[in-house]
């Protein structure tokens, strides 16, 4: 009798121990249990919808803005569920996290990864393409893709790279500099004026050490080079070295007038906004040209806040949805992508009271009732008009420029 009572737990523990060893050393559990899904590219759209019903889609996206989060959580999530029976799960993380995750999964030999879809930008697109991390070409398969404005080079090309159906355009924006018109009646319109302003008001300007900040640096590069044409086309080492050298010289020369003497930089736009709100900074910036309306409506920015594009222009770019090549639920991700470019979802998103993100649809291709709706989107009250700033739009450069800027900004400015 006694024997049995002692024996049982021992056996159990032995088993557990063996399980952990096996688990840690072999590690092929995930594939073993999964069924090999059919390639959705070979299916009809009806079949894709059917395959997607009842599934979950894991979308990794930047979640640093309450309006965007609300749009996703309170509109997209319930709609996707009621229309297609798909559960949307949002994962926090920007492009670099997506690349890093996909790489780790590749290294671990996982064929069914944890991310189905990612909200990505040019440099992530470039890197994911390099490591064969993206699924496609899938965009043509989406019924709503017929409305996408692919004639627009700002949409058809992502960082000078043709999209080729490997990512689905979602929104189109242009970078603006944000300021409080009470504190800064006459904001600087070029680097020279900025330098003068910095000297007169030290500590009131900085840029974020992230996508937004690097995007501003590209506009600075354009001013230093005299024209954006210098940077269009494939990456050229000589061009980069020449103008980035000038850029670092300029920044390091004026560093002492930056916020915290340029020794540290906010690591995202949200803290930049907070410093602007608290009055430590006189400027903020955003890659969303309707940001000022959006933030005034949230009660975060004072009503005297305005945004502008300096004379050197600013980058206009699109942001996209990419499906991971090792995503577990490609059909579901495709349905989500199709929903996100539907006229209704795009129209809602364009409203400054919702998000204010520019549409990627060619509105003239839409059915008349939608054309009317798009035409009657409430106008921005505080942000500059899109057409007006569009005249100063710069196309994105080759992704290599961005990656190098990130790298050198750290090495030559922050760690200098």
């Amino acid at each position: 009798m006694r024997k049995r009572t002692t024996n049982k737990p021992a056996a159990g523990r032995m088993g557990l121990a063996a399980l952990f060893i096996l688990a840690f050393l072999s590690g092929s559990c995930r594939q073993a249990g999964s069924r090999e899904a059919r390639d959705p590219l070979q299916m009809s759209w009806e079949e894709v919808l059917q395959e997607a019903r009842g599934s979950s889609v894991h979308l990794m996206m930047w979640q640093g803005d309450p309006f965007i989060n609300r749009y996703m959580n309170e509109y997209v999530k319930p709609k996707l569920d009621s229309l297609y029976g798909i559960r949307l799960v949002l994962l926090e993380g920007q492009g670099n996290r997506i690349v890093s995750q996909v790489m780790t999964e590749k290294e671990a030999g996982i064929r069914r990864g944890g991310i189905d879809m990612g909200w990505i930008n040019g440099e992530t697109f470039y890197q994911l393409r390099q490591i064969d991390g993206l699924f496609g070409p899938f965009v043509e398969k989406l019924p709503n893709s017929r409305y996408i404005d692919f004639d627009n080079p700002f949409i058809a090309f992502d960082f000078q790279q043709a999209v080729e159906g490997y990512e689905c355009p979602w929104g189109n924006v242009q970078q603006v500099i944000i300021y409080d018109s009470l504190r800064v009646p006459d904001p600087p319109r070029n680097l020279e004026a900025l330098a003068a302003y910095l000297k007169a008001h030290p500590g009131t300007f900085t840029l974020s050490n992230d996508f937004t900040g690097m995007t501003l640096l590209k506009a600075f590069l354009v001013e230093l080079a005299g024209s954006p044409d210098t940077f269009y086309g494939a990456f050229r080492e000589q061009t980069y070295l020449k103008y980035s050298g000038m850029l670092w010289d300029w920044i390091n020369g004026h560093k002492k007038y930056f916020w915290r003497r340029g020794e540290t930089f906010p690591d995202a736009v949200a803290p930049l906004h907070q410093l602007f709100i608290s009055g430590e900074l006189n400027f903020s910036m955003s890659n969303n040209d309707a940001e000022v309306d959006n933030k005034i409506l949230q009660g975060l920015f004072p009503e005297t806040t305005r945004a502008y594009v300096p004379d050197h222009g600013s980058i206009q770019n699109s942001h996209y949805m990419g499906i991971m090549a090792n995503g577990a639920n490609k059909a579901g991700a495709m349905v989500l992508a199709d929903f996100l470019i539907s006229p209704e979802a795009q129209w809602r998103k364009a409203d400054p009271a919702v998000w204010g993100d520019g549409t990627v649809l060619a509105t003239e291709k839409l059915p008349p009732e939608w054309q009317k709706k798009f035409a009657s989107i409430p106008h921005r009250k505080y942000s500059p008009g899109r057409a007006e700033i569009g005249k100063k739009a710069i196309r994105e450069f080759d992704a290599e420029y961005m990656i190098r800027l990130y790298e050198d900004f750290r090495k030559k400015v922050i760690e200098n």
Partner: protein
Amino acid sequence: MRILEKKSLKIRYLHRKAGLTLHVLLTLLPLAAGAVYALLYSVGLAGSLAAGFTLRYWESLVSRGTLWQTFAYSAYIMGVSIVLSYASALAMVISARGRLMERKGSRIFYLPLAMPALVLAFFAFRFLSGGGWLASLAFGSGLIASPQEFPELVNDPYGLGIIFVHFLLAFAFFSIYLDRVYANERIEEQVQSAQLLGAGYRQSLRRVVWPMILRKTWPAISLYGLFVFGSYEVPLLLGRSTPEMLSVRIVRMLSRFNLDDRPEAFAIVFAYMMLTVLLVFLLRKSKGGLR
């Protein structure tokens, strides 16, 4: 009967052995596996960038001085936080003669311990930044005219914000802990007998109290120091772009666009793991160290 008894003893022995094997698996295996993987990754033998054995990632780390910088900065934050909090806690406990926790309201010493580091760091940011509450106070009393004039207390070059949070946590901990040691070790009685033998109060502090308490609390100090050394969320919110504390740097480098950063990050992981192993061994060897 006797055979049965022997058998049951044997089973008990096996069962203990299985349990202890499991213990080793749970504590050492993940670590060992992680360390081996990190090492292989850092010399180009594992991961998607693996292209055969190379030392170039290590060389680049060492030559750029980043490795030392990161370790030195973490050690600096650790040293200052621990020394400050330990010294102030000790002063409090000695002046209260080991009866600090008998005081009315001493329960508030436990309050910081009820707060996660993340929450305290969030508070510290709102409290100490240029647009924060202290700055508002300074503004209201006419000390500063704009947020820019407020001294840098977070994201600052000396890690003041990080030290503030660690100080708050460690000071509360050490106060309670030292107070208990003071009472348990009957230090007050030792002081009195030293004084009976003619030692002055200061002398008895230096000769009796200090050595006794230090010897008794040395392991706790070291362990606490190691936690501060590896802390993550506090420097994540309150640190600056450079220099960074170890954990923050590793996580950032692992999710960077520059893929070359990954092997370098794993090199730091490996170096850090080896350092902790070394320190734990040293701690065990040292007098009055880990049991």
